[in-house]
Every structure is written in C-alpha cells, then in structure tokens.
Amino acid sequence: MARITIDPITRIEGHLRIDCEVADGKVTDAWSSGQMWRGIETILQGRDPRDAWIFTQRICGVCTTVHAIVSVRAVENALDLEVPLNAQYIRNLIIAAHAVHDHIVHFYQLAALDWVDIVSALEADPAEAAKLGASLSDYPRNGIPELRAVQDKLKSFVGSGQLGVFASGYWGHPAMKLPPHVNLLAAAHYLQALEYQRTANKIVTILGSKTPHIQNLAVGGVSNAINLESQSTLTLERLFAIKTMIGELSEFVNGAMIPDVAAVGALYADWTTYGAGVTNYLSVPDLPVDTRGVVCELPGGYIPGGDVGAFQAISGQRDDFFRDGVKEAVKHSWYEYEGGDGALHPWEGQTNPHYTDFEDDGKYSWIKAPTFYDQRAQVGPLANVLAMFASGHEPTKRHLERLLAIAGSVHGSPIPLTGLHSTIGRIAARAVRCAVLLDSLTNQWQLLIDNIARGDFDTFNPPTFPKGEVRGFGVHEAPRGVLSHWVVVENGKIRNYQAVVPSTWNAGPRADDDAPGPYEASLIDNPVADPELPLEVLRTVHSFDPCIACAIHMVDPEARPIVEVKAL
C-alpha cells in the first residue's frame, strides 16, 4: 500500500493537505487537513457589529465580497432590520457578478489544466478545432485565424521554455485523454477567459467602488447614492455599461464555457462515475427580492442521499429549518470545546485551539466538521444546481438540459442526470450555475432600473441596537457553496461571531461519527495511475474549488517550490 501526501493541494489559495492510501491503483482511504489555524472570528469580539463586514472581508483573498455581504446580513437578521429594495438589487448584482468571475476563473484558470494538455494543443489542426467549435455553439471567437494565433502564441511560449502558468500542469500524463484539437479549443478559451473574468470584476468595481474589498456596504443597505444625473453616483451611463458587460459575459459563458465543460466531460465520461462522496446536498436560497430576505430569486434546500425527489426547500434566508440544523464537530479537529467535545451550534461556537500531531485516528485538521441535523453535507454549485432543478427553477432546467444534450451528442449516447454525482458533475454544475447567474444578472439589473424609474431612490435604513442580547445569522450561496455567519450582539457589541464557510463543509475532517467528510469520501475508489503523479486525486479535490485558510501569505525569498507531492 502506498501513501500519498499532497501539501498543499490548492493552486492559488493555500494550506490544504490531502493524504491518500492507495492500493491496486485505487484510493482506499483519505484524510483532508487544513494546515492553518483560522481564528479570525476572535478578532471581532467586542467590536461594533456595524464594522464587522470590513474585517470579515479580509478573512479570505478570493472570497472578500462574500464575507462582507453575509456579515451585514447576519447583523441585519439580529436586528430584524429591513433592507431597501435598491440595496438588495445592488448587492445581488455584486454577488452574481463576483460569482460569475469566480466560476470562470475556476474552470479555465484552475480546473482545466487537470484535464486539458496544453502541450498537446501545439499538435492540433486549427481547422479541426474551429469545426468542433462551430458544431457546439455559435460563439463568434472560434474562427481558424484566432485559433491559429493562439497556437502560435503557445508555441513561442513553450518553445522559449517559459511554461509559466502552465508549469504545474501534468501534460503527457496517461490520464490526459483529449485529442489535440479539443485541447487547442480549450486553450483558446483559457486566454479569452482571462479577458472575460476582468469584465465580471469590472461590474463589481463599478457597484462596489473598489475591488478587491468593496466599499459600498452598510448594515441596513448600501452606501451607493442613486442620482441618474450626477457623475459621482450611480448614473444611467454606468448602469448601461453594466448591461453591456452582462451581454458580453453571457456570450462567452453560453457560447464557450458550457460547450467546453460539456465536451470535456463527455470525453472523460468515466469521471462521471468517480468522486460522488457525500451525496447529502445543502444549499441556501439567494438573491433576495424583498426587503426581508424571505423571497429569493434562486432557490436552495436540502437533498438527502442524492435523491432529488426528497428535496426539502429552505424558504428564504431566515428559515428556522436551516438555522436550527447547523452544528460544528471538533472530535478530529485541533480544537477543544469547554464543557465536552460534542458538536456545537455556531451561536454557542468556540474557537479554542488544541494542537496535536497529525493523527490518522485522532485530530488532524484545523478545519471543523460541520453537520446538518447531524449529517455531513456537500455544498457548492452542484448542491445548488440540484436544489434549483428539484424546485423547478426554469433557467436552471434550461441550462442543465442544454449542457447534458451537448455532452450526450459528443459522447454518442445520453449522459444521465445521475452522472452529476461525480467529479465531472461538480465542474458541470458550476458552469450551469454560471449561466443561471448571468440570467439573474439581467433580471436583477431590470428590477433595479424599474424600481428607480418608479421614483424609489432609497438605499439605506439606519440600524439601532437594543440593550441586552440579540442573535442573528446571515446566509449566502457563495461560489463554493453555503456560507453562514452567526453573530451574538450584547449591548451593541459583538459577543460571539462564527463563520461556517463552504470549504469547511466540504474539506472538514471526520466528524463525531468518524465517517469521512465530502473531500475524503469523494476520493475513495478514485483511480491513481501513478502515485508519484497523483493527477486523479487533484482532479477530484480541485472539482470542489478548494479555498482554505485564507490567511497567511508571507513571501519566501529563497524561492523554494512550495507545492510538494510526497509518495510514501
């Protein structure tokens, strides 16, 4: 039996360690370990709840916006404070544009290199790639000249030995199976994606005043002044610029990203049978379109055991069903709870570090293990897309069916919905969610315009804090899944603050019942052709879009390679 340790496993955001035991070319057991202590919640104790979002958006470098949004929601929930419609729509536009940015970057810049062999693209016939592109969609940027230009660029890049961003790729690995022209088409879209993700980011910048770290939030609304004439506020010109950007992004996501993901998925159809892991799926509704966060454009809920028919909706962002179901276990985490180590609800949550060594059967991670009604749950775009599909959400159904139809035609036979419970399924669902979010961007944009046209310019309701204790929670269906912040406020100051983040749900270690968490469970039975080059393990872990620790990022002038694979 071989043991593989990959530390860290994330391409961009650091400090996840994965250990796998491999026998007969398959993973037989796995451990997911967060290697950094996150105790950032403790910084918030004693502070003014109105300032919490400014600190929480520093928790993570990738997810700044989401931690800001969910923090103001938690405090608003504690105060039972309504939020003006304009503020909801502006926040929704920011949320959706941020998620589109994140999903595009995940597929092209992070996940694709696990499946696409860039060096193989050098051998491709651009005409064949263009023909494939034209057969998949009417996207206008799949022409022969453009594809040839991409190939020439890659040739000069690889020829000069500057692999740069592709240096961590596994080209030539036996698990790389795409024909050269598919690799070329994907490589072209990799480059185009770098432009489009900037477009998505620009929407966030216009509305949030700045990226990274938006500036326009407030407990009770947003600080954007709406005055269609004044240059210093949200003007018609800026709003129409956003509309143009939404159109450009839709063209790319529907024309390139959905077909790419469908085609890559079909050509790796065996990967629809690996990586299911924990199939209890949890997501929350988002994009509220009322002042209380009860009515939301995008549905969410709980699907036990992968059975879409057993879907239980979560109705709005204040639902007791969600609030009362969440706990965090620390039996296998480097924490201890005063008064016994049984799982605790986040309002009672504690963050007391208790480090031991890495103990396979004991404590081995800085990440806690969240549960929903004592069950482990997988979160993320797959959980969300399945919930939206189960609740009959029309755009989700339309985009999902289109993706499955393209995949089926490339594969030569239909790909069933159950194929989504897999490594490829998580990537496919992220593309579907990205397309759904673009429809939502259009919709939320129109809602904002219509509301302003009715003469409503309100963006802020001032909060007031009562004497004594109030408790609140905020939820957000973030790019990596369910994000919740939990706040206890006493006499206007924060007494307790806990963030239960998506990667905690997915990357958490074993819980009180000793059963593996979603990352761990998804790795079991994955094939591993070469334990020295465990590409297959990376495929499954990357399909979750891991984003851990979110904290330290000291530079090291010794320039040591930090990505380390140890096969023991």
Binding site: L191, P212, A551, H553, P557, I562
Partner: protein, 190 residues
Amino acid sequence: MRSGGRDSRSVGPVAGRAPLHQPDSSPKVLVLGLGNILLRDEGVGVHAVNTLARSHRLPEGVAVLDGGTSGMDLLDAVASCERLIVCDAIRSDEPPGSAFCIDGDEIAAFFATRISPHQIGLSEVLANLELLGERPEHITLVGIVPADLSLGTELSAAGRRGLARGVDLILAKIGDPAAATGEAVAGRCA
C-alpha cells in the same frame, strides 16, 4: 509595454469587435500593498501603502492599491500599469523590522519558479499577464521582515519600524529615474 496596441500583443478581439478592455487613463506606476491585516505584521505591506497614500503627495501617474490577499482580482489593476511596486511581508534572515528591495533579474526568478500559497495569486497573475503580453515591464518587491504574525490588527514595534523603512524605499523607487528606465541594479537596496 503599453506602447503597442492591444491587438498586437494579445490574442484579443477578433476583427470588427470592440476590444473588451480599452486602455484608459491608467497609472504608469502601481504601488500594490499585499498582506492580511488581521494577522498583525502579515499586513504590513497594506499598512505601508495606505500610509503612503495618506501622508505623501504622490507624483502624477502613481496609483496606490490595497490588494489584501487577493489573487486574480488584481489582474486588471496590474495589467494596466507599466511599473509595479509590490510591498509585502517577506520571510528573511534579516532582523524583524528591516526592509529591502528585490529588483531586476532576481524578481524574474522569484516569480517564475513558484506556484505558491504565499503571495497568493500574484505569481499566477503575473504568469497569466505574461501570456497576454501585458505583464508590467518593471517589477520591484519591497519586502518588510515581520516580527509578529499572530491574530490582531495592530502592528508590532518592529513592524512599525519596518513600515517606515518600507515607505522610504517605495518613495525612493518612485523617484528613481534608473528604476523607471529599467536600469536598476538587481539586489538589495537597503
């Protein structure tokens, strides 16, 4: 770097389509502070650029950005500058509170070798900009050696000393015509 038209240096827009990203009135020099301000001296780079922006009148064409610990979010801002000055906490054998620059060839080696969880996506951002032909031509790293990386929002005494030295180094770099023309000598400048 910005002298060529966009079409000449990227695979970008097909004929007849408006470019997605028109070069606008971009700064020539971007001073980018990186770090996590919730981990005391980890955030010294961010505090340094904020101090710089607050307390100094910067020449025309110099912009300051608090980048936090962001990665790909920074691509647009970095793409649109000619010179990039990154200020960040740096692991070093020098005593806490020291500050120094890395320039020239050293910087190329520094960012080329690693896909690192440290300096989170900046090496990724630069590698992708290389691919787009939009990597800033001159990059300087102003490194400050931290003392205390524990949870908290206040800098340590050494961190505050390092901040002051880092700000001085950045100011010197901004005013340094040699650096502006790419003739800066590689190595430590303090």
